[in-house]
């Protein structure tokens, strides 16, 4: 009985210590993730403005942003932007990682160089590419014109569809290096024996890629896709620096309006409502992506 009692105390004591051990981490998560989110939800159902007395608003803020003139258009634009940029980014990252996963002269230098676009702050990238694509004096038009490819300069940033294409291109340029690095890290963790066994079985290059590489990096691909979807849905600084959201509002994405509602129009309630909607859309998309991924892939288990 004494031994059992001691064991019980020991178990309780260990559990008690464990709670203390994880308490700092839990506190940090609560302070920096949970609290802001709950506060955003709270703000989204209230009149929150530095110029107006606070009041309960119910769902009026949600109604205001959903019925606003910009909401549907900017949501559509954001979804197009994300749907176009994410697959290209991931495919390009996969291709580049596959190339860098080989030994060749200068491979280490190339691996460092490929990170360069990602290392440049996005707003700076926007300014650089603005100079490149500028319709009046940009380098691209000059190159194409001198090469005789175009008869006259093209308004890359001043034509709505072209500006959208440019923004997607630059988003891919800024994002694919990080995707490459993550996928490359996953590829380098694949045991060499698997490739040797596949080779002995007569698998060619493509077969090894599809039956060895791809299944082994599923978890990382899932993470990269989710990360890039979130980057697409919340993109803001790139369009701000590259096109100023124009021409018209052709490249103005939903995240700009979250910012504009809160800080430009001083309606933190509307801004919070928009942020909550954006977070919910992100969550739905993440869950949808996770549904498409074979069970266990994220924890490295076998396909269910």
């Amino acid at each position: 009985m004494v031994a059992r009692e001691r064991l019980r105390r020991l178990t309780r004591s260990i559990r008690f210590s464990a709670y203390w051990m994880i308490a700092p981490a839990v506190l940090l998560v609560v302070a920096f993730t949970l609290y802001p989110y709950i506060y955003a939800i709270w703000s989204s159902i209230r009149v929150t403005s530095p110029l107006l007395p606070p009041a309960f608003a119910g769902l009026k803020n949600y109604e205001a942003v959903i019925t606003s003139i910009y909401f549907l258009r900017s949501v559509k634009r954001t979804l197009i932007f994300t749907a176009a940029s994410v697959p290209i980014t991931v495919l390009l990252g996969l291709l580049t990682a596959s190339l860098l996963n080989r030994r060749f002269i200068g491979d280490i230098a190339l691996r460092a160089l490929v990170l360069l676009p990602w290392a440049i702050p996005i707003s700076i990238s926007g300014v650089i590419w603005r100079g490149f694509f500028n319709g009046g004096w940009g380098a691209l038009n000059a190159l194409l014109y001198m090469a005789g490819i175009i008869p006259k300069y093209i308004g890359w940033l001043t034509t709505p569809n072209l500006a959208t294409l440019v923004v997607i291109t630059v988003q891919v340029w800024t994002q694919f290096p990080f995707a490459t690095v993550l996928i490359l890290a996953a590829m380098q963790a694949i045991p060499e024996e698997l490739y040797e066994a596949a080779a002995i079985d007569g698998a060619g290059l493509l077969q090894r890629f599809f039956y060895v590489t791809l299944p082994s990096i599923r978890a990382m691909l899932a993470i990269v896709i989710i990360f890039e979807v979130l980057m697409g849905l919340t993109a803001f600084d790139l369009t701000y620096a590259l096109t100023g959201g124009g021409p018209g509002t052709a490249t103005t994405l939903i995240s700009y309006f979250t910012y504009a509602e809160s800080f430009k129009m001083l309606n933190f309630g509307n801004g919070a409502a928009l942020a909550v909607i954006l977070a919910a859309v992100s969550l739905i998309m993440i869950l949808a992506i996770l549904q498409l991924i074979p069970k266990g892939a994220l924890i490295g288990g076998e396909e269910g």
Partner: protein, 449 residues
């Protein structure tokens, strides 16, 4: 058993150790807290510190002016400068004031003054320093209107400028056109002609949804037609799509669709576009002419000039940017307020009988000043003659007026800008944009009544 005993003891010790550590930590914090509450040892009197917030323009000049100010007062003041990008200034200041980030003196515009004043973030200068009123007689009317709210003088001008119609006079003459247009319709004819001559696009406008100046540029163009946003009660005057505002918006749509006008998201890019020699006309804040006509920054320097704003009235928008003292400075006490006044007077008023800083901005950067005595300053006259046509500038300045500024104007302009750029690019109909803006103005008036 011994193993269990050992682990049990070990675990108890761990928990006790943990609690001891927590106790020691709490005790340390308590001691630190008590120490914090204890009277601070007397510190030697140092310079009075001031936090000065500006938007990012001419930072080197500002820093040099600060240095000269500090030297002029034997380093009795230490000014800390923080600059914020122009496009984010309004919201950054809102965040700054809301979070009570130290701010003693800041730049402000007439369009944001009512909002900042109503929120209690900036204070009337004349309430604390009645001598500020002595400057009123030296300030041009549209500027005075912009720095006054509810009949009180809130600041002194940093610079005052007009939005002007600018063009490359040399290229225009070479193309065979005698002079700038009188009306917007005549301008369309000229743009078509110029496009035929290879100028593509013949006109560039600084228009972007995320750029505050977009609203200024549109307002100035519509003022040329005699348009106005609000009456004295801040009821909309623009709600007829066939009125001057609607007409100007339609003009932009038609000329954009015809490829005669392009929209560029920043004034520096508009300047570069003009310097390609492919574009003749623009509408910008007048100080841009100084950069366009400076050999150091422009390959086509000397070719640009000002024309009267096209339209029936040729009116344009005039405005003042100002130095404001904040409530936070007031809260810091009389010593800080006195420092603020000395600083504002040095930067915006007279020091040793001269408008030294305003004159410097005018001579070096072509910034308008709105200080009547400076119009007769020989250095200013000489510098301005190199940048602008003084006769047309004077005429255009006399036709400038400031916008009416309701307390909710900052919010309205953000909303209206979205409608203006959407309509101007043909995304929504002009009627729809005008109706949305009108409804929003009415909502805001009711909400903020």
């Amino acid at each position: 058993m011994s193993s269990t005993k050992f682990h049990t003891r070990s675990s108890k010790i761990g928990r006790r150790d943990f609690l001891k550590l927590m106790g020691a930590g709490a005790a340390s914090l308590g001691i630190a807290g008590i120490a914090g509450c204890a009277p601070k040892p007397a510190t030697p009197a140092g310079p009075t510190s001031l936090d000065f917030i500006v938007w990012s323009y001419g930072i080197e000049t500002i820093l040099d002016n600060i240095k000269q100010f500090e030297a002029a007062y034997d380093n009795a003041f230490a000014v800390s400068l923080k600059d914020i990008a122009w496009g984010e200034y309004h919201e950054s200041m809102v965040a700054r004031f809301t979070a009570k980030t130290p701010t003693d003196v800041c730049y402000n515009g007439g369009d944001w003054l009512p909002e900042f004043a109503k929120a209690g973030w900036v204070v009337p200068l004349e309430d604390h320093f009645p001598q500020a009123l002595d400057y009123k007689s030296d300030i041009v009317s549209y500027a005075l209107s912009d720095i006054t709210y509810n009949g009180k003088l809130y600041g002194l001008p940093y610079y005052c400028d007009i939005t002007s119609f600018q063009y490359n006079a040399k290229l225009l003459e070479e193309s065979g056109i005698d002079g700038p247009p009188e009306t917007w319709e005549e301008l369309t004819d000229q743009l078509e002609f110029l496009k035929g001559k290879g100028f593509d696009p013949p006109m560039a406008l600084e228009i972007a949804v995320e750029l505050p100046t977009t609203f200024d540029n549109f307002t100035a163009m519509a003022y040329g037609r005699g348009g106005e946003w609000f009456d004295e009660n801040f009821d909309p005057l623009f709600d007829d799509p066939a009125g001057p505002m609607g007409q100007q918006l339609q003009w932009m749509v038609d000329n954009y669709k015809a490829g005669l006008v392009t929209y560029i998201p920043h004034e520096t890019d508009v300047q570069t576009q003009l310097n390609t020699g492919k574009t003749i006309y623009t509408v910008l804040w007048n100080y841009n002419l100084a950069a366009l006509n400076s050999a150091g920054t422009s390959p086509l320097a000397g070719q640009y000039t000002i024309g009267l704003m096209p339209g029936a009235t040729h009116e344009t928008q005039g405005m003042a940017k100002m130095y404001n003292m904040t409530q936070m400075a007031v809260d810091r006490g009389q010593e800080v307020m006195d420092a603020c006044w000395k600083f504002i007077e040095y930067f915006a008023g007279k020091h040793n009988g001269e408008y030294k800083v305003a004159e410097r901005w005018a001579v070096e950067d072509g910034l308008g000043f709105g200080i009547i005595p400076l119009y007769d300053d020989p250095d200013v006259k000489e510098a301005f003659a190199a940048f602008f046509d003084p006769v047309v500038l004077k005429e255009q300045a006399s036709l400038a007026r400031s916008r009416p500024h309701p307390e909710w104007e900052g919010i309205f302009t953000e909303f209206a800008r979205m409608q203006i750029v959407s309509a101007a690019a043909g995304e929504i109909a002009v009627d729809e944009a005008i109706e949305s803006m009108s409804n929003r103005a009415k909502e805001l008036k009711e909400q903020y009544a």
